[in-house]
Structure formats: structure tokens, C-alpha cells
């Protein structure tokens, strides 16, 4: 698509979409959002970029191969599940560590395996969709 307006606008849009996708990922536990939705938005950001500037440039912008990204995501999700063994719980039991307190109410924030799992989902969706989308783009 050889539209200067689209190309110029896409660059700004992509940045916004990516930030938005992270925002959706992180708020997911309490408000609409999560890894799946975040990943979709992230994928759309790169697809917009690919439509505007070509998939070669979008691949460069992503830096890593989308297939690899998806695999890493699956690995991250698996790790989030395996962490529970360290604490003696069954597979995929959510683990919570409170920073600055000892419960949800008193802690400033938490480090938890549930968010790690969601990040894995985010990467899988992002990488999976992009590997299809780029392949589609490059097919001709």
C-alpha cells in the first residue's frame, strides 16, 4: 500500500498499539484484558506496520522470528507451571509473592506466576498470529 499518509500514520499508530497491548496484558487480572487480548493487539500493531512498510521491515522491527517468539512464549508458560513444584504445590498452582506486605491488601505489589503465565500466552499469540500473517504477506 503506497500511501504516504498511511505509512506516516502507521508508525505512530504502531507505537501506541504496542503500548496499549502491554497495558491490556498487565491490567488483565482485574479488568478486561489479559495475555490473549494483549497478544492480539500486539499482532495487529505489527500487521499494520507490515501493511504500511512491507513485511520485511516489520520482521526487522520485531528483531526475532515470530515462530521463535511463540516457542519462547510456550516455554515461559510451562515454566510458570513448573515453578509450583519448587513450593511443593501441584502443577500450575498460582504462586504469589507479596512485596512490602504479607497479603494482597498490605502489599505494594506482587510477583506471581500467574502473570508470568499470561506473558507466555501473550508471546504465543503474538508470535503465532504474526508467523501466519507475515507468511501470508510474503506469499506472493
Amino acid at each position: 500500500m503506497n500511501s504516504i499518509i498511511f505509512t506516516a500514520g502507521a508508525r505512530i499508530l504502531v507505537a501506541l498499539l504496542l503500548v496499549f497491548s502491554l497495558f491490556m496484558l498487565l491490567r488483565g487480572h482485574h479488568l478486561p484484558g489479559g495475555g490473549f487480548i494483549g497478544g492480539l493487539i500486539g499482532a495487529i500493531a505489527f500487521i499494520v506496520y507490515a501493511l504500511a512498510c512491507g513485511s520485511a521491515e516489520a520482521r526487522t522491527a520485531l528483531r526475532v522470528s515470530p515462530e521463535g517468539l511463540a516457542m519462547v512464549g510456550l516455554g515461559v508458560a510451562l515454566l510458570a507451571g513448573l515453578v509450583s513444584f519448587v513450593f511443593g504445590d501441584p502443577f500450575f498452582t498460582g504462586q504469589w509473592y507479596w512485596v512490602g506486605g504479607d497479603s494482597y491488601e498490605t502489599a505494594a505489589f506482587s510477583i506471581n506466576s500467574v502473570l508470568v503465565f499470561d506473558i507466555g500466552v501473550y508471546l504465543v499469540v503474538l508470535g503465532g498470529i504474526l508467523s501466519i500473517a507475515f507468511a501470508f504477506e510474503e506469499e506472493t
Binding site: 487480548i37 495487529i44 508458560a77 502443577f91 499470561d118 500466552v121
Partner: protein, 762 residues
């Protein structure tokens, strides 16, 4: 066939040395449990995995598993060291090291796991990793074919095994092997026969019992270190391990005794004759592995102390000499460039160390005193005399051991001291990393025989106790057990074996003639696979016409039938359709969806039709928003967007719709569409009629915040309550993405490769 190896290439690299070191460390780790386990207290580690399905990750270290663990890690470390030198300079060595190490870990998991489901998973992991190892020379079609054969056969057996395990779990109420064995024999259980058959199918395919034996000699396609490992301590011993492990639960019945004795004995004797028949030394050894497996299965048929002691002692002896001899053959192959039994000879002068250790291993194999092999043979005869079907077992053992004596001479004596043929290369001694392993194993075979008391106390008796599920009385392993029937049988074995060796070249010709007349299971396997592929092609031709319209039509027809048939067979109450109380917004959304649909139906442009579909999808997303399901709505919206964009890219490349072609199908399509739509609506209305069950909703509403600290229930379900499901789903996302990627990217290339392969087969 010392393929790819380069004498001058550096062989020390990170992947190789790390795997050797880790395996050796594991060996040391297990070694420290030797006194504990020998004293009679098994060690247990356990983690809950999926408690709701009784699936635990539990490990159980008793005499049997410890013996296996030591063999696996000990021989494994030597094999890995050997392989590092053997495959030095091979471009894919790192990959090989990874395969071999994963295989070692899977095998270790198999012998340590206590939960049946875990045993099954490790069982299949050994199948997969051995597939990668056997097919390591993946450019060779024969290698690929043999790897696939091993995979299909052992995986099919694995499925039977899974069915058997599930039957056990369901009828016995536990999946823990230690609990099952403690509960005693299952012989009185109603499903005993079914369980036994399924488990035996798994064990017999893995341990290559006749008639499933043919994959094992073919697995020789693997590089020599792999063969040494697969044949000595691992893979094929998996089935034997399982039979030993489940011995307390399943043994003792007439079926067990008869089936194991007959299959084991037939395998042992058949394989020893086949071993004598081979010219390639590696093939000879492959068949002696079959012989050993048959013998082990035969002795596991018994339940007496002597029978089990015979099985366990022979298992150790066999692992030691078999690994050593395979590795030795590799050294010979490396040095001379051939494995032909008729050509090899007189190598002792050029390769004194190799000759020495081959001789030691050969003496153990032939069962000459004072090697452990001799003791194993004595105990085996004593075991045979104590078992049911005594005469049959003893005669079959005599035949197998005598043939083994002859084969040992062919493999370990003749290449070094026999007449020399025309060698392709001038022989030279092997490098030390390839000698240290076999040498250690050969010396161990001698030491274990010289100190039968130590061997018995630390290795054999704890294993026997585990198999018998009772403390072992011990005292059976002796170098001199007095002048008794087993000793006479031993002497008869030597005499018979010597005669067989003397005439082995005549016998080989005779056996080759017999083999040519007999049924060829290997070729039969190929024919069976061919039939199967023909059937698959036929089915594909009939079902997969390649016309999208027909696929959709068939799918929706089946969907309609699937809804109608239950509705007619089991009619449920009526339904009410009311439009009262719908807001303006809801009417608007409905109108939007209908408008989108009409647009799709009327347009003759693909892009417009796609846009129309997008409108429908967005309408559905709006409905989700109106009924306050924002998560679903956002996902729906985004997916809809992506589908439109992706399809638009694809559709740009497709030809215009053909108006003439469309008109032919239209009336039928319309009817089907109306029927499916109407039925779906009817089902939804029926569902709405039944009162809503709030139990799950209440649970998630309550627990989502209290237990999982999340206010977004949908997300909490996805990432906490039902994480395993989500994990499965994202795995599917990846598989789908890779599938689409392969289709889009690989289409042309694969076509070209297919042509190339056709050329090859000509």
C-alpha cells in the same frame, strides 16, 4: 561405515563433555544410594502433579530401579564419551549429543517413575528419542524407514500399554506402582486377563519378542554408540523392566507362565540361530540381544528365587558384555572399515587393547568361569530346573547358551585371532576415549564374577527382592556351587557350543537357505504399510475432492443431522420466542447483523462479501458488550479484525467469483443454510428454557478474588483455575501457526523434494 568421522577433528566440545559429565554425575548420585537400598529401604520422591486425576510425579528407588539406573547412567556416560570421539567432526554432533542425553533421561525416568501414567509418558519419550537416534543419518532412506518402523511398532505397543494402565488404575483405584505391588497379585481381579494382554503387548513390542522382533536388527541403522546403548542397558530392556516391575502384581498365573515361557524361549532360540547366520558382526550382535531378551522374558515367567535371580544376574552380565562388544565392533569398524565376519581376522597384533577387552567380554558372554557370565549361566540352569515346564525351559536354555558360546567365539575371538582376509584399511589401535568405556565394562564383568558375594549383596539381591516383593534369601551366586546338575549342563553347553563354532560356516549356509524359505516379517511389514497407505490414498480421493464448496456443504449437513437426530429421538419441552422488551439498541444490532448477511449473499465481489462478514462479526461482538462480557467482546472484535485483514490479503490473489458456477448450487445452499440457522436458533432457545445452573458461576465469583486475587473472572479462569486447558490451547495456537506457515512457505519446495524422492526410488 565409520561415517563422517574424522581422525584429526577435535572431539572435545561443550555439548559432548557436558553430557558426559552430567551423566557421570547422575551415576555418582545413584551410587550413593547403593548401601541404603541394599540394606532394604527403598527411597521415594513424590510431587503432586494433577491430584484430581491421581497423576503424581513420584519416583521410587528400590533394588530393581537402582540397578537399572546405575546401568543406564554408567554405560551412558561411557557411550557418550565414546560417541564424542566416534562422531568427531560430524556437522550434527551437537544434535546427536542432545538426542542421546534426552534418551538417557527418558530411560532413567522410566525406571524410576512410580506412577503408571508417568511410566507411560517416559515409555513414550524413550520411543520418540530412540526414533531420533535410529534415524540420525536422516539422509539415508533406509535409516528413516527403520526408525519409522521402530517408532510405529513400539508406539503401537505403548498405546496398548496405556489402555492396560488405565484399566489397572480404574479397577485398582491407584496408579502408584509401589501400592499396587504391595497389594499383591491381581490374578483374582475381573479384568486381569485384559490387563495382562495389554501390558504384555507393550512389553513384547518394546523388548522385541517374536513376532515383533524384526524392528530391533533394523535399528542397527543408528550409529554404533547408539546401538550399543539401545541394546545393552536401555530401550529394549524397557519391556523387560516393565515385566519385572509388574511381576508381583501380574505373575503367578498359568497364562503368565505359559505366555512368557513360550514367547521368551522361542525368541531366544530363534534369535541365536539368526545370530549365527549373520555375516555383518553388528547384525550378529543385534540378534544376540534378541536372544538375551528372550532369555530374560523366559526366566521372568517363573516365580522362584532362582528363576528371578537368573534373570537379574543375566541382565547385568548381558548389559556389560553387550555394550562392550558393540563398542568394540565400532572400534574395529573405525579402524578397518569393515564389519564382515569372513574378512576380519588376525587383528590382535595391530589392536592389542581392543583384542584384550573383546576377549574378556567374549568370555563373559560364553559363560566361562570365573566371569559373571558363568555364574549367570549356572543360576539360569538352576532357575530353569525350579520353574514350571522344566524340561522345555532347560532344553531351550541349553540351545540358546550353546549358540551364544559359538557366537561369542565368532564375534570376540575370530576377528582377532582367526585367519585374516583382505581388509579395506590397514588396522590400527583405537583412540583412548573409545577404549576406556569398553575396557572398564569388560573388566567389571570379570571382577563381578570374582566377587560374587559383593555383586549379589549390592545389585542382584536387592533387585530380586524388588521383583519378588519379598526379602531375598540370597546366597545363590557362587563360583563353585558343587558338582550338580547345572554344572553338568554348563559343561554340555561348552561342548555343544564348541561343535557349533567348529561348523559355523556350514551352519550359516544352511540357515541362509532355511531363512530364504521362511516367512519374511520385515517385508510383510512393508507390504502392510503399503496397503495402509493405499487405503489412505483411496479415502483421500473419495473424501477430499479439493472443492471448498463440497467440504462446507458436507460439514453443515452433518451438523444439521447432529442437531436433528437427538431432537427427534429425545424430544424435550417446548420453546418460546418473544420479541417483547427488546431495546432500540438490541434491534439495531440485530438489523446490523442481518444487513451484513444480506450483503454477503447479494454481492459478487469477494472483498465486499468479506466486509459483510466482518459486519456480522462486529455485530456479535456488540451483543457481547451489551450483555456485559467485555473480555469476550474485545477478543471477538480483534479476531474479527484479524480475519478480515488476513483474508483480504489472501483474497486479493484469488480470481473473481464465477457467477454462473454459483447459481447451480444456490437453491440447495439456501435450504441448508436456513435449516442449520433455524436449528441453531432452536437449540439456543431450548437451552434458555432450562433454568440456569449457577453453581460454577457462584464458585468462580467467590473464589476468583479470595483465592486467586483477581477481579476479572474470565482472566482468572484462563490463567489460574484452568491453566492446564489454556496451556493446551496456546500449544494448539502454535501448532496451527506452524501448520499454516509450513503450508504457505513450504508448498513449492516440498513439491520439488517429492520429485527428487521419486527419482531416488527409481
Amino acid at each position: 561405515m565409520a561415517e563422517h568421522s574424522d581422525a584429526n577433528a577435535p572431539w572435545v566440545n561443550l555439548a559432548g563433555m557436558a553430557t558426559v559429565a552430567l551423566t557421570a554425575a547422575l551415576f555418582a548420585f545413584f551410587l550413593q544410594y547403593l548401601p541404603v537400598v541394599a540394606a532394604g529401604s527403598p527411597v521415594q520422591w513424590s510431587w503432586n502433579w494433577i491430584p484430581s486425576l491421581q497423576i503424581n510425579l513420584s519416583f521410587w528407588l528400590d533394588g530393581l530401579s537402582l540397578m537399572f539406573a546405575l546401568l543406564i547412567t554408567g554405560i551412558g556416560a561411557f557411550v557418550m564419551l565414546y560417541a564424542a570421539r566416534y562422531l568427531a567432526g560430524h556437522p550434527q554432533y551437537n544434535r546427536f549429543a542432545l538426542y542421546l542425553f534426552s534418551f538417557m533421561l527418558s530411560m532413567l525416568g522410566l525406571v524410576l517413575a512410580d506412577n503408571l501414567i508417568a511410566i507411560f509418558v517416559f515409555w513414550e519419550l524413550t520411543t520418540f528419542t530412540s526414533y531420533l537416534l535410529i534415524g540420525f543419518s536422516h539422509t539415508d532412506p533406509k535409516s528413516r524407514r527403520n526408525a519409522l518402523q521402530a517408532l510405529l511398532l513400539t508406539a503401537a505397543g505403548g498405546l496398548a500399554l496405556l489402555a492396560g494402565f488405565i484399566l489397572i488404575g480404574v479397577t485398582q483405584g491407584t496408579f502408584e506402582m509401589s501400592e499396587l505391588n504391595a497389594a499383591g497379585s491381581m490374578a483374582e481381579q475381573p479384568y486381569y486377563l485384559g490387563i495382562l494382554i495389554l501390558v504384555l503387548l507393550g512389553a513384547f513390542t518394546k523388548s522385541a519378542q517374536v513376532p515383533f522382533h524384526f524392528w530391533l536388527p533394523n535399528a542397527m541403522a543408528a550409529p554404533t554408540p547408539v546401538s550399543a546403548y539401545l541394546h545393552s542397558a536401555t530401550m529394549v530392556k524397557g519391556g523387560v523392566y516393565l515385566l519385572a516391575r509388574m511381576h508381583p502384581s501380574l505373575s503367578g498365573t498359568d497364562v503368565w507362565v505359559w505366555v512368557l515361557t513360550i514367547f521368551g524361549a522361542v525368541t531366544a532360540v530363534f534369535a541365536s540361530f539368526m545370530a549365527l547366520r549373520q555375516i555383518d558382526l553388528k547384525q550378529t550382535l543385534a540378534y544376540t540381544t534378541l536372544m538375551a531378551l528372550g532369555t530374560l522374558v523366559m526366566f521372568l515367567a517363573g516365580s522362584t528365587g532362582y528363576a528371578i535371580t537368573a534373570a537379574m544376574t543375566f541382565l547385568i552380565v548381558h548389559s556389560l558384555y553387550k555394550a562392550c562388544l558393540f563398542l568394540t565392533i565400532g572400534v574395529i569398524d573405525h579402524a578397518t572399515g569393515t564389519r564382515d565376519a569372513d574378512v576380519l581376522g588376525g587383528l590382535a597384533r595391530a589392536m592389542p587393547i581392543t583384542a584384550m577387552m573383546a576377549l574378556l567380554a567374549g568370555l563373559a558372554m560364553a559363560g566361562i568361569p570365573p566371569f559373571l557370565g558363568f555364574i549367570a549361566k549356572e543360576v539360569a540352569y538352576a532357575g530353569g530346573l525350579s520353574m514350571a515346564l522344566t524340561v522345555f525351559v532347560v532344553l531351550m536354555s541349553l540351545a540358546a547358551f550353546a549358540l551364544m558360546f559359538a557366537v561369542a567365539a565368532i564375534v570376540a575371538y575370530r576377528p582377532f585371532f582367526g585367519p585374516q582376509g583382505a581388509l579395506p584399511r590397514k588396522p590400527h589401535e583405537g583412540p583412548w576415549p573409545m577404549l576406556i568405556g569398553p575396557a572398564t565394562l569388560a573388566v567389571l564383568g570379570l571382577l563381578a564374577g570374582l566377587m560374587p558375594g559383593v555383586t549379589a549383596y549390592y545389585l542382584v539381591e536387592p533387585a530380586v527382592a524388588a521383583v519378588m516383593s519379598a526379602p531375598d534369601t540370597g546366597g545363590r551366586l557362587k563360583l563353585w556351587a558343587g558338582f550338580n546338575l547345572p554344572l553338568v549342563l554348563s559343561l554340555a553347553t561348552f561342548a555343544l557350543g564348541f561343535v557349533l563354532y567348529w561348523f559355523h560356516q556350514d551352519l550359516r549356509a544352511l540357515l541362509a537357505r532355511i531363512e530364504a524359505r521362511g516367512p519374511n516379517l520385515d517385508a510383510g511389514w512393508d507390504r502392510m504399510l503399503e496397503r495402509f497407505m493405499d487405503f489412505a490414498k483411496l479415502q483421500t480421493r473419495v473424501i477430499q475432492t479439493g472443492v471448498m464448496h463440497q467440504y462446507l456443504f458436507a460439514t453443515f449437513t452433518v451438523l444439521a443431522l447432529a442437531i436433528v437426530v437427538p431432537m427427534v429421538l429425545r424430544p424435550v419441552g417446548g420453546m418460546t420466542l418473544t420479541f417483547a422488551g427488546l431495546s432500540f439498541l438490541e434491534w439495531g444490532i440485530g438489523f446490523l447483523i442481518c444487513a451484513g448477511t444480506v450483503l454477503v449473499l447479494l454481492t459478487s465481489s469477494r472483498i465486499v462479501a468479506l466486509t459483510g462478514l466482518g459486519v456480522v462479526g462486529i455485530g456479535v461482538a456488540l451483543i457481547f458488550i451489551v450483555y456485559s462480557a467485555p473480555d469476550v467482546a474485545i477478543t471477538q472484535l480483534l479476531v474479527e479484525l484479524l480475519v478480515v485483514v488476513l483474508l483480504a490479503v489472501a483474497l486479493l490473489k484469488m480470481p473473481h467469483l464465477d457467477p454462473d458456477n454459483r447459481q447451480v448450487h444456490r437453491p440447495m445452499d439456501a435450504i441448508l443454510a436456513l435449516v442449520v440457522g433455524g436449528l441453531t436458533a432452536a437449540v439456543l432457545l431450548l437451552v434458555v428454557e432450562t433454568p440456569f445452573d449457577r453453581r460454577l458461576t457462584d464458585f468462580f465469583e467467590g473464589a476468583s478474588w479470595m483465592e486467586a486475587f483477581g477481579r476479572n473472572i474470565v482472566n482468572v479462569i484462563l490463567v489460574d483455575f484452568r491453566t492446564l486447558d489454556t496451556f493446551g490451547e496456546i500449544a494448539v495456537v502454535i501448532i496451527a501457526a506452524l501448520g499454516a506457515f509450513a503450508l504457505l512457505k513450504g508448498g513449492l519446495k516440498r513439491g520439488a523434494e517429492g520429485e527428487a524422492e521419486k527419482e531416488d526410488s527409481k
